[in-house]
């Protein structure tokens, strides 16, 4: 036989199999923690969960009762942050995808976006204190905390929106321009309708990121404990992420199940949001006609 496998071929194949197994095990070791962590949180935090846990106030120095003020506070923070960052982020993405020329200035914008995502969360917190709490005199409030969160998560919206805008084929735009439409008419009637689901996945991802952040809100608007619920954006609030930090480190004589319950609710919200975003993305990919 002319092409009989030589010893060298056998050796090459064994090496390949070795690496396949090695990298496969590495990948498994990397993703296994997600499953272990989730299982542990469900097993240890599950007993703490109940309707009461979600909808009552903490009592007894936070060692008993529920998490309602923290849950509500997180919803406040996320909504106000979205009100600010979604319009801004979508506008930025439209500019970058539809208008921006390829030049040094555009590259600087992209670099700024990368840096905005890469600056440590605690530095964003310092910025929030210096700018919103002190300079703009919002005090420690939902407004100051949400603006800090919104700026920090702005890159999530920009990147997701830009990607879904760029996924709309250029031919669609050209066809529209040839009909005499302006750039904006083209964007509004053709590009945005075709990209809206993709933008939505980005926004859901941002909700998940915003809800989980702790450091940026510690000194800008979230409090360890408040006996009352926030009435407006200039009030302070409790927040789920900070609440987890507080009940797991700051309170003595904490029953073990309670922090696990808080962690389970927080990670539940985050992972559900992410799963919805992933599912939406897959649905979109399956539906795509071009």
């Amino acid at each position: 036989m002319m092409f009989a496998a030589s010893g060298q071929n056998d050796k090459d194949r064994r090496i390949q199999q070795l690496y396949f197994v090695l990298f496969g095990i590495m990948t498994l070791l990397l993703v296994l923690p997600v499953l272990i962590i989730l299982t542990t949180l469900v097993v240890k935090g599950g007993p703490a969960l109940s309707i009461d846990f979600l909808f009552t106030k903490p009592t007894n120095g936070m060692t008993a009762g529920g998490i309602f003020p923290a849950l509500l506070g997180t919803i406040w923070l996320v909504l106000v942050a979205l009100l600010f960052s979604v319009p801004l982020g979508v506008a930025a993405a439209i500019y970058l995808s539809e208008y921006a020329p390829e030049n040094v200035f555009t590259r600087i914008i992209n670099l700024a976006i990368i840096n905005l995502a890469g600056v440590p969360s605690i530095v964003h917190a310092l910025f929030g204190v210096g700018a919103f709490v002190i300079f703009f005199r919002f005090g420690t409030s939902i407004l100051a905390a949400s603006l800090t969160l919104g700026i920090m998560t702005l890159p999530v919206v920009i990147v997701a929106t830009r990607e879904s805008l760029q996924a709309v084929p250029q031919a669609f735009r050209e066809a529209c321009w040839n009909m005499g439409a302006t750039r904006w008419q083209t964007i509004r009637r053709v590009v945005l309708p075709n990209a809206v689901t993709g933008i939505l996945t980005g926004i859901i991802l941002e909700v998940s990121r915003t809800a989980g952040e702790t450091a940026p809100i510690m000194f800008t608007g979230a409090a360890f404990f408040l006996p009352f619920l926030p009435q407006g954006v200039l009030d302070q609030t409790m927040a789920l992420s900070l609440h987890l930090f507080v009940v797991s480190t700051q309170v003595p004589d904490m029953p073990e199940h309670l922090p696990f319950g808080v962690a389970l609710v927080l990670i539940g919200i985050v992972l559900i949001m992410n799963s919805v975003s992933i599912a939406l993305r897959m649905y979109l990919r399956g539906k795509k006609k071009w």
Partner: protein, 304 residues
Amino acid sequence: MSRSSVTDFDRRNRDWYIDRLVQAVVFIGGISAIVFIIGIFVFITREGFSFIATEFDVSGFFLSQNWRPTSESNPTYGILALVAGTASVTGLAMLVAIPFSLGAAIFIAEFATGRVREVLKILVELLAAIPSVVWGFIGLSIMNPLIIEWFNVPVGLNVLNAGIILGLMAAPIMTSIAEDALKAVPDRYREAAEAMGATRWQVIAKVVLPAAKNGLLGAVLLGVGRGFGETMAVLMATGHSVNIPTSIFDSVRALTATIAAELGETAVGSPHYQALFTIGIFLFAITFVINLTADLIVRGIRNK
């Protein structure tokens, strides 16, 4: 053609003006990222400035390990031990995360196919989504007792604990960026090598990895930046004691965690408060350089 027919083709009608207006509005969105980055620098410098101008001296700040900001008689602001804390934890995290992330990226991009690949990518994405305070909680409540039991040490909140936690946090980001870098290598490179009779591993080792080298380096750098700037997880898992570590079982304190733990207790404008902002400036500068370098390296190949 008469003059009037030219004006008929003048495009400056209402739609044209709306278009211009929209262009201006989205441009504001576009430059907002630049405005915020400059804003971050200006506002943290503004708060930390008078510390840098008066109390700050380079050797006292960077080369002293005495971080005693609350001392009544003689407060000192030396961040050497904090830098050592951050460096030891980030270093260990990278030791864990770099090989695993690159291995996983190669497996997902080059070996895995179809459904397996989809599932792995989703799991990596979910791993990246876990909030840092949850990671800190895991370090505190799950890893801590395990480390005490396995290694027979008195305290489980130490470099080892935070390093593993931080490694797991940085790994998914490094994996997905590294995977992108591998995917960016054109298929015809692989086909050419396979046509010469190379096994898949030979294709990866001899063709794909060298071609994706810069992208992989960028991925590693961004992972380092992420680990370096992480706050809540290192605050909760390091043990938070000012210390230059001599073993992985020593408790340490990180730069980021120091700001998070102390800012709430300082009076606005006090030297301690300003010293914390000065650490913030330092952190900002380092991550800026890391991100810039990563970007230059990654774009470098793209322009070639």
